[in-house]
Symmetry: C2
Subunit: 561 residues, 2 copies
């Protein structure tokens, strides 16, 4: 490495020492981090490599150096990167911050392999959490358990009978309660199945068995106590910790409720907000109550902004709620349904755009994507300017509609791992001949539209390295299928990295503030053990995040083995 410069305080610290000094992160002083294998997006949007970075006392990038560039004569702190790979902090363009955090606080049964194992884990969790009035959790799967039937309330009572228990199935389409939960909800043999849902019954009886499918889940869910503010605060910290541990420094929160927003603000007000959050409200009233006539300014040193609104135009492919132009191949009478009328969609888009708020439209199916693109094209005449219309997911797009992303300047906010999780299901739903516009990252990008990548966590893991590997291989965590699924839609490694950094920032009006590691931006970066532009896909998936920095301060350091 290069010779060390004069520093008021020289810190030559290995990663393990960094971890132990996490609380003592220097701030408000120039820091030079030397000897890194740096990769960033430069001012021109191109991949640039560098070996050192200077951070000013405000936590912004002051300079970036190649090996032979002259370093400053004096700095306050000099850190040795030990040759590790440095990347811009990863940015997730679509996740659900509070749901992710709350999931961290509840029981996870996704690793259980039998009913007995699950009951044992539930029993232990309840014992370890005596103060919780309800035991909540998720992730059970009776298929994985080899049970051949749904579990019952009586079985759950055998684990916990002093408090209600309420557990979501792995896919979120069913939930399992104990007797106290059913009693709290007032569900009895006399209860009728709601539209779109089913109360499972005991064999030969009308007595509820304990499992509730789809819309029937709400019968119990409505009596589950909402998280208390203190739980929300803890959940946000857990979400931040998890995301930072995976290298994520910023995220778009897709569907911020009023309670979510207050949680973000409490963290910001208390100096505990370390994740940059680009917020999209659940509805127009929430958006306007918070932002007033316009989006909020960037708050807390570019950590939080109410950007606009998240709209749902259709449902999901798995449950056949996605709105298709042609019927489902595996359900010929069904095309799914739009969740808003054309007038509703346009009215709310106009309302948002009038206030300079950004609009992010969830659209999964071909008809939903066409309608979203057409609505944007209709409105774009009246609201030209820099609107950054977003379509979230854009999973199954009719190839004839794909050019409209570029022509209407619509950002395609997509989640690479969804493709690997959904591919066999998508084939079943659409049949083999209607997959040309499915998860069509490359085709969309080739039209000139911008791709921003995310995870949809907690629906999928927020790990961005899984997303990066999927994006350039079209293979899942096991490398399947060999050669990739519709590999012509893979993007380059460079495109994938930009979609998870600079583009995800731009998609949330963060450009110039974070996302590229250019001079003047906040110094948000990660140190990792693999070069995502050179390592094998398998290595990229197994990338270890050593440190995560936000605004020139270290917010995560890995434990050493």
């Amino acid at each position: 490495m290069t010779a060390l410069k004069t520093a008021r305080r020289i810190l030559l610290i290995s990663t393990c020492a960094l971890a132990s000094t996490l609380a003592a992160t220097p701030a408000l002083a120039d820091q030079l981090i030397e000897n890194v294998d740096g990769i960033r997006i430069d001012e021109a949007g191109e991949i640039d490599r560098f070996t050192a970075i200077l951070i000013d006392d405000g936590g912004r990038v002051k300079a970036v150096y190649d090996r032979n560039d002259k370093r400053p004569r004096e700095v306050d702190y000099l850190l040795d990167g030990k040759g590790q790979v440095m990347l811009p902090g990863l940015i997730d363009a679509h996740l659900h911050v509070m749901q992710l955090g709350i999931a961290q606080l509840t029981l996870d049964l996704s690793d259980t392999n039998s009913l007995e194992e699950a009951l044992d884990k539930i029993r232990r969790f309840a014992a370890e959490n005596p103060a919780r009035p309800w035991i909540l959790g998720r992730g059970w799967n009776q298929e994985k358990w080899g049970l051949g039937r749904f579990p019952t309330a009586a079985e759950l009572d055998s684990a916990v009978s002093d408090r209600p228990v309420w557990l979501s199935r792995v896919d979120g389409h069913a939930a399992w309660g104990n007797t106290l939960a059913l009693e709290a909800a007032g569900v009895t043999a006399a209860s009728a199945d709601p539209a779109g849902g089913r109360i499972e019954r005991l064999p030969g009886s009308r007595k509820p068995s304990g499992v509730f499918v789809d819309a029937a889940e709400a019968l119990v869910q409505r009596v589950v106590p909402a998280p208390r503010p203190a739980e929300r605060d803890l959940a946000l910290l857990k979400a931040q910790e998890l995301l930072h541990s995976m290298g994520i420094t910023a995220a778009a929160d897709m569907g911020t409720s009023m309670d979510d927003w207050h949680t973000f603000r409490r963290a910001g007000d208390g100096g505990r907000l370390t994740l940059r959050i680009m917020s999209y409200a659940t509805d127009a009233d929430t958006m306007e109550a918070i932002g007033g006539p316009r989006p909020t300014p960037w708050l807390y040193d570019d950590k939080l902004r109410m950007n606009g609104i998240k709209l749902y135009l259709d449902g999901a492919l798995g449950s056949r709620g996605a709105w298709l132009k042609q019927p489902y191949a595996d359900d010929p009478g069904n095309t799914g349904l739009p969740l808003m009328s054309p007038a509703q969609l346009r009215n709310i888009m106009v309302r948002a755009a009038t206030g300079q708020f950004q609009v992010a439209v969830h659209a999964i199916g071909t008809a939903a994507n066409a309608e979203a693109l057409n609505a944007i094209a209709d409105i774009a005449d009246s609201f030209s300017g820099d609107r950054r219309w977003r379509i979230e997911h854009a999973q199954i797009v009719d190839p004839v509609d794909i050019p409209k992303f570029a022509s209407a300047k619509v950002i395609a906010s997509m989640q690479p791992v969804h493709q690997t999780s959904d591919r066999t299901m998508a084939e079943a739903r659409l049949g083999p001949n209607r997959l040309d516009g499915a998860y069509a990252w490359k085709t969309i990008a080739n039209t000139g539209a911008m791709l921003a990548f995310g995870s949809d966590a907690p629906v999928e893991s927020p790990d961005p390295f899984a997303g990066l590997a999927a994006a350039f291989t079209r293979t899942d965590s096991d490398g399947q299928p060999f050669g990739g699924w519709r590999p012509q839609e893979a993007v380059s490694r460079e495109q994938a990295l930009a979609a998870f950094t600079a583009n995800a920032s731009y998609a949330g009006f963060g450009e110039g503030r974070f996302g590229k590691l250019v001079v003047g931006e906040r110094a948000d970066f990660v140190l990792v053990d693999q070069d995502p532009l050179l390592a094998t896909p398998e290595q990229v998936r197994r990338t270890k995040v050593r440190e995560t920095w936000v605004g020139g301060r270290r917010v995560y350091a890995a434990d050493t083995e």
Copy 2:
């Protein structure tokens, strides 16, 4: 004045020049204001006189000087106070910020002397505000007009017939709508009077005349569009302007709704918040949604804090809603009513206190004050610490209960001008022999309890000099009654000034931040044309505020005549 010191930039500016340079207020530099006739509350809580004040680059008081004290050798800005009286910024311990601001945006009919004059003013206001979907206003008084009856919808139609019009009577106990307002509300001859209210009818008919009394107002009020966020933002700026023009630099907002809070935050986020607001939420859910498990920190350089909750234990004396131990002298069957049960009151107080939130209980009548004091005494055992329980108004207290203010460390948050407005009404309601604990400022203070003074604006004018004069004279704006009403309850001028400054700050956890003009506090002060400790009561009432400063920045300067 003393010789001017070396300054990088010497500003010798008369008040009129100051006004014209309002936008260019110096900031982020030391400012020495020389040649003032300064009055402040010192560290020991005593009145202290000074002649110069040094403000640091963060807008805090750096030093306070007597005539002969040595000044700093060099300052950035040197200003000449021209011998004017300087006081700590006045603090209103009880008002309604947004209601005050919204009242500034609507039509004020309180200066009209006839129906014709009012109709003319309404017509002009509507013409000047063509974009407003409803014409809203207040302040009409058919007695003052000499009308001998309520006005009618048809009369209002003659002024405005293209939009609904809805106007509150001066006392807020009736409102007057035009035909479009009645139609929007769906009120017809078939509409029944609601409990506690009366729809005025045309003579010899069931047809609504246009005026709605007490609870009947809600029939129309519920269809009046809520203010839009942009209107709320403007209303807050108007409230700030008005308060600063009267010398007020901080206020307790008694009953902050979620929309109010967002309005305060938007102003803070945008750098437009110049009034310090000590906020008390309308209800526990709002308080906890905002604060979470604890009050917010002080935000925006000590400009905003969610302190706790405002509770209503009873109504008002005028409408005989105040809860008395003995029946009303002028309504022998009536003692008023508590608005909460003992259990409700204690439960919500415990809930707030558990989260370290402050509780401010509205209590007007003797029974309400006794119950509030008893509830605090009951709970104070479990929640000792520094709770700063507040009773708002404390208007009519049974003399046997007065010592409980001191023993339970309850702050009496009172409004001197209410006494002058209410005295004849209070005599009627209570009779001559039950006035010993009425507006008993001096008696309460003599027990050792703290007095904090406010205005209850917009119920009364927020002018603190009217409040100061009332406090030490017990006379109204005309100096009536001669010698003061129950003058033994007048407080000293020094007590009155402390109650409108340091005590009002302490009552909202602002001590050490603002209220006294001691070193380390924010430099919040006013320059005025009268010395409130020496001038005649009449002069004090007519005090002209020349300049108002918040945090070392001028936020108001009077126009020169």
